[in-house]
């Protein structure tokens, strides 16, 4: 099932303009523009160190950008002249689901508790309401058998699916995936990718940083190719993977696809 790229123009949910970020003298992001419509799924690809992760971490302020502006839901939530307040960044984060490369499940909590904790303590749902929703979500990602297991007792693929359920439990308006399958055994990735693909097809607004080209081809509306902190090329999955315009894109796509 392929999503129709650039189907109808949708309302812009997220507009990041000119995002810049440096660590000391090292420029990680050199002015990135990224617009995302409601229900749209953009995959970000690029070599290690190109700034992909930093980019999406800027979108929920796990990293504070040095320059640019971010609009969300039609409202300016951050720009370089007006630093965001702690309360506002927390409010923003409740609308943004984040899935990390290394899962980051809470080690002393069971799968169910991991999915419930923020529902109770961030959103103020009752324990019962939260647990019911958690069971539903864990069932949706195929883990209803593992509710009471701790992260250490789950495989990487299972942990990541718990992490996805945990992020979805907040009923986010957008999901950010930071190389969600890179730390998982190749065989175990498919379940995680299937969950993500279902989400994308179900209309979830998503940004996924990924090296899984087949997934991006199937499930993304648009693909961004990032190198050296700049967007080198942007287009439909077909354009990027089959007919890239830039030599650098061609090089990268061939290398990752194993074409020698």
């Amino acid at each position: 099932m392929m999503k129709t790229p650039n189907s109808e123009p949708t309302e812009v949910l997220l507009a990041a303009q000119g995002i810049r970020k440096s660590y000391g003298h090292l420029e990680i992001l050199r002015g990135i523009d990224l617009n995302l419509g409601t229900g749209e799924h953009v995959s970000v690809i690029g070599p290690s160190g190109s700034g992909k992760s930093t980019l999406i971490r800027c979108l929920n302020f796990l990293e504070m950008p040095d320059g640019g502006s971010i609009d969300f839901g039609g409202k300016r939530i951050w720009d370089e002249n007006s630093p965001i307040k702690e309360a506002d960044s927390r409010a923003h984060r409740t609308k943004v689901g984040m899935v990390f490369q290394s899962f980051n499940l809470f080690a002393t909590h069971t799968a169910l508790q991991n999915v419930s904790i923020a529902q109770v303590h961030t959103l103020g749902r009752s324990r019962k309401e939260a647990d019911d929703r958690s069971r539903e979500l864990l069932d949706q990602v195929g883990l209803s058998e593992h509710l009471d297991k701790h992260p250490g007792q789950l495989s990487g693929g299972q942990q990541q699916r718990v992490a996805i359920a945990r992020a979805l439990a907040m009923d986010p308006e957008i999901m950010l995936f930071d190389e969600p399958t890179s730390a998982i055994d190749p065989e175990m990735r498919v379940e995680v990718l299937r969950v993500m693909k279902d989400l994308a097809n179900g209309g979830m607004t998503m940004i996924s940083v990924t090296h899984e080209f087949n997934f991006a081809r199937d499930a993304a509306n648009r693909v961004l190719f990032l190198a050296n902190g700049c967007i080198v090329e942007e287009g439909t999955p077909d354009e990027i993977f089959s007919a890239p315009k830039h030599e650098r894109t061609q090089q990268f796509v061939n290398a990752v696809s194993g074409i020698v």
């Binding site: 929920n60 796990l62 927390r90 409010a91 984060r93 409740t94 943004v96 984040m98 990390f100 290394s102 899962f103 980051n104 499940l105 809470f106 080690a107 002393t108 909590h109 904790i117 923020a118 303590h121 961030t122 250490g152 945990r166 992020a167 907040m170």
Partner: protein, 211 residues
């Protein structure tokens, strides 16, 4: 030799130990908070404080507080002076083990708390501390044991603890080897089980299991 007499000394030893440990933990939390402060000023002050506290021998601290810096408060009670001296010194060590425990919790755990907008209090109490606590406890226990042994120094300023009593019995004609051997056993009776407990707790920690 009168064993009951030694046990009187044990009371003093435990008083100094528990009192100074409690003080060290309270001040240790302050030291750890200072170590993790965003303010360079606060961090520098804590760093200097820790250097001073650690750099002077426990005996000298006790003599200083008992004879010099007590401002009339500590000079009357050698036990109180010993509690304050050992409490101050160990606040530096315990503070650093609290800090080390917090630092041992992987960054990703903090980031997940942030990403889900968990209130800081909830993040600490439910996510970070349960993972950091076994690590803090394991290293703090090692300091607690060395603190127990250091209570013996308080005999020099005349605190009524075990070494003080044992020394007195010897002065009164008891056999020196037996007296000191017995109190040696009493120290062991406390330090060995605590050491085992610490290793058991550490072995159960989530972070230790992951490694």
């Amino acid at each position: 030799m009168d064993l009951a007499y030694l046990l009187l000394g044990l009371k003093g030893t435990l008083l100094i130990w528990v009192g100074s440990l409690a003080l060290a933990i309270v001040l240790g939390v302050v030291v750890a908070a200072g170590r993790r402060s965003h303010s360079t000023w606060v961090r520098s002050i804590v760093r200097v404080w820790v250097a001073i506290v650690r750099g002077i021998p426990p005996l000298v601290w006790m003599l200083l507080l008992f004879f010099g810096l007590g401002w009339g408060l500590l000079g009357d009670s050698p036990i109180f002076a010993a509690v304050v001296a050992l409490g101050l010194i160990n606040s530096a060590y315990i503070g650093d083990s609290i800090n080390a425990g917090l630092s041992a919790v992987p960054r990703g755990q903090w980031e997940a708390c942030q990403a889900m907008a968990l209130p800081k209090r909830v993040a600490y109490l439910r996510v970070i501390l349960p993972q950091a606590f076994p690590i803090m406890l394991a290293s703090s226990t090692a300091y607690a044991i060395s603190l127990l042994k250091n209570t013996a120094i308080a005999s020099i300023i005349g605190a009524n603890e075990m070494v003080f009593y044992a020394y007195n019995t010897v002065q009164l004609g008891a056999d020196a080897l037996t007296s000191f051997f017995v109190i040696g056993l009493v120290y062991l009776a406390f330090s060995v089980p605590i050491g085992f407990l610490a290793r058991w707790i550490e072995g159960r920690s989530v972070i230790a299991q992951v490694r």
